[in-house]
């Protein structure tokens, strides 16, 4: 067993894990973060996508020990102070989901996409999300949702001037906040 310390969704956890434990297993089974789901086991579908220090990773494709000392954001930590992230609102409003199983990963990947490219073309959205599979929607509404969030991000960024250098209004690197440990 190896001790790791990880900040997940703004809470610091310190746990003993087997070195073979996948990050997604740690999130689900040790921390109860079931919002992050497992789809394919082979890192093809992206349903388990989370952020590691603000960058998207497939959590089935990474060991928990590799997250030691890092910050992880899951879909459960994306809303801030009870306010949904613009992508969450857009996926809801645009009916960009059906069974919902791919949705957390799809939103987390979209978030990464918009962070790097706040004003993507339709083609860039398609390419940016290519590593995430959805079996229900046919993808149309997912693209629309990302477009809507990007539009909204641009507008609010312009209005408030609070966006980052890229005009991205959303700060994903939350302040470290130690609440407790699970073990």
């Amino acid at each position: 067993m190896t001790r790791i310390t990880v900040n997940v969704d703004g809470t610091k956890y310190s746990d003993e894990v087997e070195p073979r434990t996948l990050l997604v297993q740690y999130l689900r089974e040790s921390l109860g973060k079931t919002g992050t789901v497992i789809g394919c086991d082979t890192s093809n579908c992206g349903a388990c996508t989370v952020h590691l220090d603000g960058t998207s990773v497939k959590s089935c494709n990474m060991l928990a020990v590799q997250a030691d000392g890092h910050e992880v954001t899951t879909i459960e930590g994306l809303a801030k102070n009870g306010e949904l992230h613009p992508l969450q609102t857009a996926f809801h409003e645009c009916h960009a989901l059906q069974c919902g199983y791919c949705t957390p990963g799809m939103i987390m990947q979209s978030c990464d996409l918009l962070k790097n490219n706040p004003d993507p073309s339709e083609q860039e959205i398609r390419e940016g999300l290519e590593g995430n599979l959805c079996r229900c929607t046919g993808y149309q509404n997912i693209v629309k949702a990302v477009q809507q969030a990007a539009r909204q991000g641009k507008e609010s960024g312009q209005q408030s001037g609070q966006g980052d250098a890229d005009g991205n209004p959303v700060d994903l690197n939350e302040a470290e906040q130690t609440v407790g440990a699970t073990s």
């Binding site: 109860g32 789809g39 996926f91 809801h92 069974c99 046919g138």
Partner: protein, 829 residues
């Protein structure tokens, strides 16, 4: 009570609202079955012992070594089954088999404190086998006469006379692949026992009542001792209609034996190697046309590749036979069906349920024959549409067939097809190595379970004293938006705002004896039941309100301004808020809840003669797809898709359009990308599914999205036989994807001379398209190509397909095995 399809003023149905669970999905709060494990104490994990032989007799099973593995608690074998050792309803599907019937068949299950312990335990179980010959390909099964189940026939008219008189006769064969469901959530069950040994199973199932029934018969319990709940599924697509039952039963046995909760969740590879898929089919056919290209006769024999056991193969085959006509009037028809038994997973329901397979056969025939008739494929299809008063080969009048033409013309117009075809002609003339084509194809799909008995549903509606409403119904939610529609139906029927209605998860102890959420019928059936329950309540409240408003009960109106206000025609103009009326009714001791029931009227079906009117109505749609094919590689892209689809008066337009888009893409996946490969070599891994993960099984992704995708709903499409005038939408749009396949065929043909008939494999992967292009090029270089179609003339009747001689219906074909005795009942359609 109001007429079924009639909408009140200001209905909540018809509003564009997002999915009822969307807020939970976007925050990660939505719970799937496996998420409950983390909320349950002392759970044991189950792992299968899969045997790596396609066919073998088990000669010894030694479980002792597994028990030596730390953390292993118990190994489940056939000896542990207290009731019936069968995972299905036909006694041909042993839960713990003594004969391995497909590569990866599980013969035992290991329970461990952790999944890892169970996995190591399963690896330690020793299984001795005597390998047996295995049949993998459907053609080998046909040669070996390896069949199972009924061999039904649909027949009409005088086949021989029609072939005698025909101007053109063609014959051919066509074999096409099945499809893996690849719901993103794999199969999962979590079983618990209560203080008295009663069983509670949470399962990712489309058919909780049948999961309950199978768990009960495996455990030797009565149905009232077993409760099954389905919170929601991460996709189903038919794959969770029959397949969850045995898995739930394993978890339930484990829980009964250990007293602890048991979780059974399949890994992706286990799911793909152990559970059934869409049936691939083989077909042999001959077809007759008159001089104008009008269909005169079809003689076909379809062989469904059923895998190792029957499962739902018989009803799937029945639906295939009932859809081989698709949108076309075929005056003389003889269509035989049979089911091959092969050493593969037991193939099962998949969106369309045989309908797509039947329709693919006729669309393939038309696509191959059009060039041989000297006709444009679109023209050939259009001229063969059903007309007024015509009936299907199984005898059902095709009501509203004019909607085919309406949708076709709408797509032709809005898709600007004439202009684009001219552009494509010019493009193709200038590009020797890249070709484009547009194909337009219709869909007609019958709605209802073929088997009449399944067309019933129940609902339970509670109105609490504070006026809030809780509904339960027998249908399950797999993403299709059924719960959303049911909330809309309840709010409309009660005349309250949507926010006053909540929906509770599907449970067998709330609504019993439900049918599978399948056959696209979920909203029609359960909506009818919810509406019925709500109207029982409003009829009682109507009397309370009438007394207070001083009017006749029939003059009371619910739901003014969608605000939950009760008003009256005439009277004093007084308005009563819903909550107040409910409160008052409670104090008058008026019952504020109701159980609703619905049965689809007007259906009849004789499965022995394959004749009747099994469908309440037909759903129609038309799609036009433009593709571009690269002549060097067969790689292709979908440039544009235009769809007009008939959903009646949509109950929920956002939901319905989502179903159309998703169904189309899934259909395109089946026809152009998804390539199931079984090892049919004579190596030791014969029968192994080679494509057992998303890394080797290609699913539609963002990359294959149509570059432009226009979906509209057919206008003026009220359906007076269904709740609030809407139509089923789950399955029919899948078959709009025939347009992609036919466009690929036409684009490949464009590499050859005019009139080249192309035999295109299915799935039409880029590789298959490349070979089709080569076929066309061979024709261009002087080797005439007939698309492997045999053309006959001078009264030659073509190659007559094999006429099966098995019984049209087996005694067991429509029986469900009860706990103790075989009782007449029903299987699905």
């Amino acid at each position: 009570m109001s007429h079924l399809s009639e909408r009140p003023a200001n209905p909540v149905v018809g509003q564009e609202i997002p999915h009822e669970s969307a807020a939970l999905h976007v925050t990660g709060a939505a719970l799937y079955t496996d998420d409950l494990v983390m909320r349950t104490r002392d759970v044991l994990h189950a792992h299968p012992v899969q045997v790596p032989h396609a066919h073998a007799r088990v000669t010894a099973l030694r479980t002792q070594p597994a028990l030596a593995v730390p953390g292993v608690v118990r190994v489940l074998t056939a000896a542990d089954v207290p009731g019936v050792n069968d995972a299905g309803v036909k006694h041909d599907e042993p839960l713990f088999p003594s004969e391995v019937m497909y590569f990866g068949h599980s013969v035992a299950w290991v329970l461990g404190e952790t999944l890892e312990a169970a996995r190591l335990g399963a690896a330690a179980v020793e299984v001795d086998v005597e390998p047996l010959p295995a049949i993998i390909d459907v053609k080998d099964a046909i040669a070996a006469e390896s069949f199972q189940g009924a061999q039904p026939r649909v027949e009409r008219g005088d086949i021989e006379a029609a072939f005698d008189a025909a101007a053109h006769v063609f014959s051919g064969e066509f074999e096409f692949a099945g499809q893996e469901h690849f719901y993103l959530e794999t199969h999962c069950a979590l079983a618990l026992v209560d203080e008295n040994g009663q069983v509670f199973v949470q399962s990712s199932t489309q058919h909780p009542s049948e999961t309950q029934e199978i768990v009960a018969h495996v455990l030797g319990l009565a149905s009232h001792e077993v409760t099954v709940q389905c919170l929601r599924m991460g996709g189903g697509f038919g794959g969770k209609e029959m397949q969850p039952h045995g898995l739930a039963a394993i978890a339930a046995i484990g829980s009964r034996l250990t007293g602890r909760p048991v979780r059974l969740r399949l890994s992706r590879t286990q799911d793909m190697t152990m559970t059934g898929k869409r049936h691939g089919f083989h077909s042999q056919w001959r077809v007759a046309f008159d001089a104008d290209g009008r269909l005169q006769a079809l003689d076909a024999t379809l062989t469904a590749d059923g895998g190792w056991s029957l499962d739902l193969s018989e009803p799937v085959l029945a639906r295939a036979l009932c859809h081989i006509d698709n949108a076309y009037w075929i005056p003389n028809a003889r269509v035989n069906g049979r089911i091959a038994r092969t050493n593969k997973t037991s193939q099962t329901a998949f969106r369309g349920f045989g309908g797509p397979q039947g329709m693919l056969v006729i669309e393939d025939i038309l696509g191959r024959c059009a060039p041989l008739l000297g006709l444009d494929p679109a023209s050939l299809r259009r001229r063969n549409f059903y007309g007024p008063g015509q009936t299907t080969p199984y005898g059902q009048p095709v009501r509203h067939s004019e909607r085919l033409a309406a949708a076709w013309d709408a797509v032709t117009r809005t898709g600007d097809l004439d202009r684009r075809r001219a552009e494509i002609e010019a493009f193709n003339a200038e590009h020797p190595d890249t070709k484009r084509a547009i194909a337009i194809t219709p869909v007609k799909f019958g709605i209802s379970f073929n088997l009449t008995a399944f067309n019933q549903a129940g609902a339970l509606v509670h109105v609490y004293k504070d006026g809030s409403v809780l509904i339960n119904h027998g249908g399950t939610e797999m993403g299709q938006g059924l719960h959303t529609k049911m909330l809309q139906v309840a709010a409309t029927s009660l005349g309250v705002p949507l926010s006053r209605v909540r929906l509770a998860p599907t449970r067998t102890d709330k609504v019993p004896n439900t049918s599978a959420t399948a056959a696209s019928s979920g909203a029609d059936l359960n909506g009818g039941a919810v509406k019925n329950a709500c109207e029982q309540i409003t009829d009682r409240l109507r009397n309370v309100a009438a007394g207070r408003l001083g009017v006749h009960p029939s003059d009371v109106r619910f739901g003014a301004d969608r605000g939950g206000i009760i008003s009256a025609i005439g009277g004093t103009g007084e308005l009563i808020p819903w909550d107040e009326l409910v409160h008052q009714a409670y104090f008058q001791r008026v019952q504020l809840w109701a159980a609703g029931f619905y049965r689809t009227e007007g259906l009849h079906w004789d499965s022995a003669t394959m004749h009747g009117s099994p469908f309440k109505y037909f759903a129609y749609g038309v799609a036009a797809t433009e593709v571009e094919v690269d002549g060097f590689t067969g790689a292709n892209r979908t440039r544009r898709v235009d769809i007009v689809h008939d959903v009646g008066d949509s109950l929920s337009p956002l939901i319905d359009i989502g179903q159309i888009e998703g169904g189309f893409v899934q259909g395109a996946g089946w026809l152009t990308l998804e390539d199931l490969r079984w090892d049919n070599s004579d190596s030791p891994t014969r029968g192994r599914l080679a494509t057992q993960a998303a890394s080797t099984y290609k699913l539609p992704s963002f990359s294959e999205m149509p570059e432009e995708f226009n979906v509209t709903l057919l206008e003026q499409a009220h359906e007076d036989g269904a709740v609030y005038g809407g139509k089923a939408v789950g399955e029919p749009p899948l078959m709009l994807a025939f347009s992609v396949r036919e466009a690929l065929r036409q684009a490949a043909a464009a590499f050859g001379p005019q009139g080249t008939s192309i035999d295109l494999a299915s799935p039409a992967t880029p590789e298959a398209v490349f070979w089709a292009v080569e076929e066309a090029r061979a024709a261009a270089s002087g080797q005439p190509d007939d698309g492997h179609v045999t053309a006959s003339s001078n009264g030659d009747h073509g190659v007559v397909p094999v006429q099966p001689h098995g019984p049209a219906r087996h005694p067991e074909s429509e029986r469900v095995v009860g706990r103790q005795a075989v009782e007449p009942a029903g299987v699905r359609p």
